[in-house]
Symmetry: C2
Subunit: 220 residues, 2 copies
C-alpha cells in the first residue's frame, strides 16, 4: 500500500521527470558557457537572460536543512547529488549500478571539468571516486555512510570527453565501517588504472545522527 494517493504519486513522477530535464538542460548550458568563444556583448546578454530565469524557480524553494520533496527516502539515488544526481547541473551525472556488490559508474566529462589542459581536474576524479566508494559502502552495509578517509593515487591523467568507467568495491567490513577501494579507467581500456582510491566509510551511530541531522525536518 502506498502512503501517497494516486494523484500525489503521479505529480511526484512528473516533477522528478521535470527535475531531470532541467538538470540536463543546465548541463548543456554549462558546457556551452565554458567552451564558448563568442564576444562580450553576447556573453552579457546571455547572463541577463540566465538571471531572468531565476525568479520563476525561486518562487517556491527549500533552505538548508529541508530535504528536497522530490527525493524518496526509500531510494538510494538523490536527484541533486553533485556527482551522480541527474537534477544537479554540477553532476556529470555519473550513472551507477550495483553488480554482485560492486558499484560501477559511467560518465563522460566535458570541458567544465578541466584541470590540466585537456584532462580532468584532480578534485573531480576525487569526487567521482568518493561517490562510487560511497555506493560500494551502501551496497555492503545496507545504510549510507559518511567518508572518514580517502586516499587517492593519480597514475595517469584522465582524459576529458571520453567515456569513463569508475568502479568501487568493499574489501573489508568492520561493524559500522567499511573499507572500499576503487579505480577510474576509460571505458575502452578498463584494465589500465588512471586513478585509484582507498577509503574508510562509517554509518553514524544514533548519537551522531541526532547531533548531525537532528535539526532536519526529515532524513533522506
Amino acid at each position: 500500500m502506498s502512503a501517497l494517493s494516486y494523484d500525489a504519486e503521479s505529480d511526484l513522477r512528473d516533477r522528478r521527470r521535470a527535475v531531470r530535464e532541467l538538470g540536463a538542460a543546465l548541463r548543456e548550458l554549462t558546457e556551452a558557457a565554458v567552451s564558448t568563444e563568442v564576444d562580450a556583448e553576447t556573453l552579457v546578454e546571455a547572463a541577463e537572460q540566465v538571471r531572468g530565469l531565476v525568479p520563476a524557480l525561486s518562487s517556491a524553494r527549500r533552505e538548508r536543512g529541508q530535504p528536497p520533496t522530490v527525493d524518496d527516502c526509500e531510494q538510494p539515488r538523490r536527484l541533486y547529488n553533485p556527482a551522480a544526481g541527474p537534477g544537479n547541473p554540477i553532476a556529470p551525472p555519473m550513472r551507477v549500478e550495483i553488480v554482485d556488490g560492486i558499484a560501477i559508474g559511467t560518465c563522460t566529462l566535458g570541458l567544465a571539468y578541466e584541470g590540466p589542459p585537456s584532462y580532468v581536474h584532480g578534485g573531480i576524479s576525487a569526487m567521482l571516486l568518493d561517490q562510487i566508494l560511497g555506493h560500494a559502502h551502501a551496497a555492503a552495509n545496507g545504510k549510507p555512510g559518511m567518508t572518514v578517509k580517502l586516499s587517492l593515487r593519480y597514475r595517469r591523467p584522465v582524459p576529458l570527453t571520453t567515456p569513463l568507467r569508475i568502479v568501487g568495491r568493499v574489501v573489508r567490513r568492520d561493524g559500522r565501517c567499511t573499507y572500499p577501494v576503487g579505480t577510474i579507467s576509460t571505458a575502452d581500456d578498463p584494465n589500465t588504472v588512471l586513478v585509484e582510491a582507498e577509503g574508510a566509510f562509517m554509518v553514524p551511530n544514533a548519537e551522531q545522527n541526532k547531533r548531525l541531522f537532528g535539526e532536519l525536518e526529515r532524513i533522506v
Copy 2:
C-alpha cells in the same frame, strides 16, 4: 611591451568581465534549480528556456585541446577552473590568495554541493583541498603541478551555506615535487579542523609535457 594592441587588450578585458558575469548568473540559476520546489510545468518551461540559450553561446566555441582565448598564459588563474574559476558555474568559486607562501581560499557552498543532508559532499571537500594544495605547490615551485597523491581525513562534517576557510602550504620540496598539506575550517572558527589533506604534486618534465600536452595548440 604588450603583444596585444590596445583594442585587442580592451576586447579581452571586456570578454573576461563578461565571462565572470555569465558564470555568476549561472551559479545563481544552478542554486535556484537545486533548491526549487515549483511544479513540473514551471520546471519544464525553465528547461525549454535554458535550452534556448545554448545556440547563441555555441555559435563560436573551442573543443578539447583548444585552451580558452580569455585565459592568460602569464596568469595563474584560469577562468574556467571547476574549483576556483569565476567563469565556471561548477566552481563555488573559491577565491584564493597567497600570503607568505601560504595559499588561503575562501568560499561559501550552496545546496548544489550537498552530500549528507545539510553538509558538503566529501568529494567537493576533496576538490577544494586538491585545488588549494595545487596553489601552494605553484607558490613554492613557481610552476603549476599535477596531483600525484592526495590523502584526506574527514574529522567533522563541513556545513553548507557557511563561509569556509581552506588553507594549503608546502611542508617539503624535492626537485620537481612538492608535498603540501591543507585544511578546511569555517571562517568563524579557523582553528577547528573539519577536513585535512596531505598531497604530493609534480611538475611534468619535458618528455611528460610533450606526451601529455604536445597536441595542444597552446599550453596555458
